[in-house]
Amino acid sequence: MATVTKKKEIPRQPMPEQDPEDRVGNFDEVPYGFTEELATLEAQRCILCKNAKCVAACPVNIDIPGFVALIQQGKFLEAARRIKQDNALPAVCGRVCPQEEQCEGSCVIGIKHAPVAIGRLERFAADYERRMGAVTIPEIPPKTGKRVAVVGAGPAGLTVAGDMILKGHEVTVFEALQGPGGVLMYGIPEFRLPKEIVRAEVDYLKQLGVEFVMDYVVGRNSTIRELLDEEGYHTVFIGTGAGLPSFMEVPGENLIGVYSANEYLTRANLMKAYLFPEYDTPPIRRQRVAVIGGGNVAMDSARTALRLGGDVTVVYRRAREQMPARAEEVHHAEQEGVKFMLLNNPTRVVGDQHHRVVGMECIRMELGEPDDSGRRRPVAVKGSEFVMDLDTVIVAIGNKPNPLVPRTTPELKTTKWGTVVADAKTMATSIPGVFAGGDIVSGAATVILAMGQARLAARAMDAYLHGDSVANPAADSP
């Protein structure tokens, strides 16, 4: 390996992974990750650009050439620490970021060859540090005496907590569910993001001094107002994430056997229904399953259903190129045997006399003119309806923002979609001292975008606590 000198002669290194035939029978993680040798070899491919485009394309601006250079030198622990300067959750992001649209999508090597596998290298460094038990606690500046309340322990909340504790503030994270992690625990399946990794990242924050309060619903147990006025918090971050699932609004959607992806995945992931009956929550284990949607959540649902023994078809109204899911997830789903019915749109769910699903009527679509999103708009082909024989339909077409905080905080400005209005640069909401980020602001987006917004919010919250004025969207009505 060391004999290879010309960087461009090294091909992009594939990551070893579980055989598709084996992995559909378990919930273990699919890719094994790079070995030290593979990581070093892959890192050699990077030319360490001075003005690196990958850094600019990263929502949290990780020093990518910096950490890749350290991997080149075999300084794996140093590489992990370099990443952690900008990203509190590298083991998570290395696994779930859409790198092809971000860092790797702008990699210079990628113009002529395959881009440097930045995501896999990030994952390697973080895993290496954890496996070596070498996670170190950075020096924390003297306490400022300021108290920060973080509402929701998902990716955005965890990021704010990590940033604010390192600035010397006291941080309390409130979470409604039984454990921290948010979508990382209830949404993303074990085979894509082992929960042990999420726990390790949360433990790191606890070691830094972040306090976690579980089973606590802000909006019910305390309002945002009460946190500020009565409970002694100086600033609040709202990261309450996704809320009620969207449905297709076709007849038959309340039939038994139609589930939101949120419910389906929460049962499997958070409640560990796949370990039933060791765990008490029963899984949804059915024979013929259709998953509606083309995003990561649809892929996660389809691959979960497959592992629970179903015959699974993804039904998506647009074409392959337009699927918003990460390329790797679609590839993995296909490898495992998920079928794809693209350019088909459900028109009706069919039930029997007991309100149980027995089928779903779809209509074929073709691509027409581009719509507002620039994607060619799918148009129904008249008279092409047909019925699929099914017992389960999983709807994975997105969520509305969680309604609890907006409904109990009348002075908080929201959009007509129920998302919280926040300044794009500071994430400040219409209430002074209250900031927001993640899906509660952007609707349904990715983990890393939530973390990017959280990073902005933390910066502005710190400034706010130091008495600086912060742009506030209350002044300019949308």
Binding site: S260, N262, L404
Partner: protein, 286 residues
């Protein structure tokens, strides 16, 4: 962890459980519910808040053993702890001075109307509490409800004591006799609540029912608890639990309630304690 401070069986297979949960007690209001996990491997199960004591920091639940999760809970004793308890959840019941309010209840609902009866009376209403049970020995909270309501009526389905029939039969008779009721609130099994809606509809009396479909997170995320009300699909956890009985699609709801019963039979079969398999529709828990 949340400690059980008191537990007693108030009727056969009806357990009053008092749990120390100050953050919940502080904000609890009539009609709200909590979600409880007995241990880290348990289901998340919704239970109605029957009563609370802000000073002592406790909440009171009435629990019937109907499946794996409720069995785990009723097997605990005072001094034991449950892993998770979150609430108060759901929209509090509208409490105003309506005039005369009839509360009809059965099963766990007898406990559930206690807090409502007190609040309605405090708001200046004349409160009639009408409770039903299959037989006389299944009644409970007699003294508490008698003290909380202006008029207290017990029925038994088998006629073994007091009035024979359903609680809603009493409501019907009152309406037929020209008695004026400004609001009816029914809490109990699904069949009983559906009957309540059917009885009051011709009289045009606003009737609210507490719907408890299967829930998972209980905070407006999973969508498992959706119910068709009028033209809309609503979510019991954040829009409910109280809905207009005259608007609810009852047949759909009845089927949704038992959506997991086959799966749960597996769970029940694996414990050594014999479980009484009551009709699923009577289950408070999913």
């Amino acid at each position: 962890m949340f400690e059980i401070t008191k537990k007693r069986e108030v009727a056969p297979n009806v357990h009053e459980i008092v749990i120390h949960a100050p953050a919940v007690a502080k904000k609890a209001r009539p009609g709200q519910f909590i979600i409880l996990m007995v241990d880290e491997k348990s289901e998340r199960v919704p239970y109605t808040l029957c009563d609370w004591d802000r000073e002592a920091g406790t909440v009171t639940l009435v629990v019937q053993e109907v499946g794996q999760s409720s069995r785990k809970l009723v097997l605990l004793r005072a001094g034991d702890q449950v892993a998770h308890l979150v609430g108060p959840l759901g929209v509090p019941l509208e409490i105003e001075r309506f005039g005369t309010v009839a509360l009809a209840a059965g099963c766990y609902g007898i406990g559930a109307i206690l807090g409502i009866a007190r609040a309605m009376k405090a708001a200046g209403n004349r409160v009639i509490a009408i409770v039903e049970a299959d037989s006389h020995y299944l009644h409970y909270f007699r003294a508490e409800l008698e003290a909380a309501a202006d008029e207290f009526i017990q029925t038994t389905i088998d006629g073994s004591e007091n009035i024979k029939g359903h609680s809603i039969d009493v409501v019907k008779r009152k309406l037929e006799n020209g008695e004026s009721l400004d609001r009816v609130i029914a809490v109990g099994c699904l069949f009983m609540m559906m009957l309540a809606g059917n009885v009051t509809k011709p009289f045009g009396v606003k009737t609210l029912v507490a719907l408890n479909p299967i829930m998972l997170d209980g905070t407006g995320m999973c969508g498992a608890c959706r119910v068709a009300v009028g033209e809309q699909t609503l979510f019991a956890c954040v829009d409910g639990p109280f809905f207009d009985a005259h608007q609810v699609d009852w047949s759909e709801l009845r089927d949704r309630r038992v959506a997991y019963s086959d799966d749960e039979i597996q769970a029940v079969a694996r414990t050594d304690v014999a479980a009484p398999r009551r009709e699923r529709a009577h289950a408070r828990t999913a």
